[in-house]
Amino acid sequence: MQIASMHFKERASRALADARLQSTMKRFGGGFVEKRAAARAAYGVEAFEELRAASAAIRDRALENLDAWLLRFEEEATRRGTVVLWAEDAGETCRQVLEICARHGLKKAIKSKSMLSEEAGLNEALAAAGVEPVETDLGEYILQLAAEPPSHIIAPAIHKDLGEVSDLFEKHHGRPRSDDIARMTREAREVLRPQFLSADLGISGGNFLVAETGSVAIVTNEGNGRMVTTLPRVHVAITGIEKVIPTLEDLSTLNRVLPRSATGQEIENYFSILTGPKGKGDADGPDHMYVILVDNGRTRLVGGELQAMLRCIRCGACMNHCPVYQTVGGHAYGWVYPGPMGSVLTPVFIGLENALDLPQAATLCGACEVACPVMIPLPALLRTLREQQVERKLRPWAERAALRTWAALATRPRLYALATKIGARALRWMGGRRGAISRLPFDPGWTQGRDFPAAEGKTFREMYASRRTESRRSRP
């Protein structure tokens, strides 16, 4: 996938000017938030908060001994007939998949949703090697027709409205145009069914890797995941190494918090625990099962200030609750992962210098942190990245100078008093009769879209001092 994270501002600007996108986002933005709130209330608010804490603890326990749990997973999975492979980066991930294709002579891959596949650019690699990738998650399928990347990690096509999908279906399915959702869904099923039946490779992600049993757990709502992992003769699951958890008991805890946080569901429509290929006497399942454990930058987070980010279970709650994401949409972020979690992960994965705006593109309002099912302190992590940017002198010169000047002034009370005395008068004068300033000098961006309220004209400090003097004078 092309990286455009350096152009957050321009992309956000385009998104703001796109009336259709704005209306789509306004219509759907609140839905997930309300559903999560209802699910939390139904579970019991206090109990849900305990569940979050327990989930965070499970993820921490796994991350503290990540290597050991991964080796345990490999051992248990191997014992049950799964081939476990390791990939250091995107390139190696693609190579591993292509080698599997070559080994088994595979020509068509059906895919269930996998963000890691986006990270690795797997579809492009498959197509280039003559293996046809077919996305079968409805949202991903729509985006494959549109040749667009996802804009949300669990609702990839949330930026598309009904009309756009109708247009795409009409163009690619060669059937009469419809805008009846039930009919369109049926149409997609009919188009995808032969693909399911003719594919020889199924590619999935993995929501969790269970170390004690060597299982891959997958949650979906459309049932496509189940077909992808059982119909073709080869199944390849690709996941990040951080997805490992110790036990099935842990899985049960995490699968209570995941659907409620993501879509507000008590449980997903389909919850699969995949352990090894088809065994003797099994009716379904692939002849070969592979799991590719991908690093692609994740080990850089282990043991560091940002380790908590690896707890992430990819529910999307942070972006659902993020007012910036809800204003500019996922494509503005310019790479695979948008919203708050993306603003932490993207700089880590592609380099801080290649995503300068992302750690800054948050108001630090904290809505993501309180919604996060595994209690990742996202604002604190963004702040840490901002510190790294300052330390590495990656912020613009003018910004650094402004901050330095402010600090120098604020640590010198007398000078500060003088400067604010002048400032208060200027901010009063500029406001004129309206009491609002429509253009500030040296303004990097405030008055472009709003006024700046005029000041009263004197500082509190001045007025308080003169009041004290007066009251002293008036005392007998």
């Binding site: 007012p323 948050a362 108001t363 809505a367 510190e387 604020a410 604010t420 006024d451």
Partner: protein, 245 residues
Amino acid sequence: MSVDGRVGLLVTCLIDLVRPRIGFAALRLLEAAGCEVTVPASQTCCGQPGWNSGDRPSARALARKVIEEFEPCAYVVAPSGSCAGMVRVHYPALFPDDGAWLERAERLAAKTWELTDFLVHVARFDQIPGEYAGTVTYHDSCAGLRELGVQQQPRALMAKMRGVQLKEMREAETCCGFGGTFSVKFGEISAAMAKTKCDHVHASGAGAVVLGDLGCMLNIEGKLRRMGDDKTRVLHVAELLTWEK
């Protein structure tokens, strides 16, 4: 009920510069609540701009200054959730490897309060001096809400006041788009977020939007005025509680 020990008023840099009357309103409320209030004259800024911009050294320098200025007080009160949150939540995080300063930061953090939180939970204040006639809607400022749990306190105080009719708006808890330096680094996005907030204010039908932080105030008021709305009042909760008809 009176409060034991002196209360230090952390005026905040934005109130000092732009809206001193809010500082005086806070002072009046604290005195009405029976507090002996002191206003350290050398105070400037709590260090939040540096802290949120990744400039830890300058945030530390300003934190040390605030700690020294307010240490003698029994309580520190700020008419701002974000400045109070800076002291209470973030000051200790500034000195993880500096034992002496960490201890001083923690001690100050433990006695620092947002104004309405202090009035309700420490001073147990209910003799609201102001009187107002009209409808208001309340915007929950992010840091106050999520760092300090300020949500019911301002509403409880407003409920005790004569003439105030609260009309809640949709998404009162959603950020207005200020975000400190975010508001200038990403002016366009910030203003778009403010627009959403102002639309909710308008939809509530209230004649005034009340809030507890100057940042949000400048943002929301600035956007309302740019939208051509010169009528809707934007009031700090301290202003409302001391309003004279």
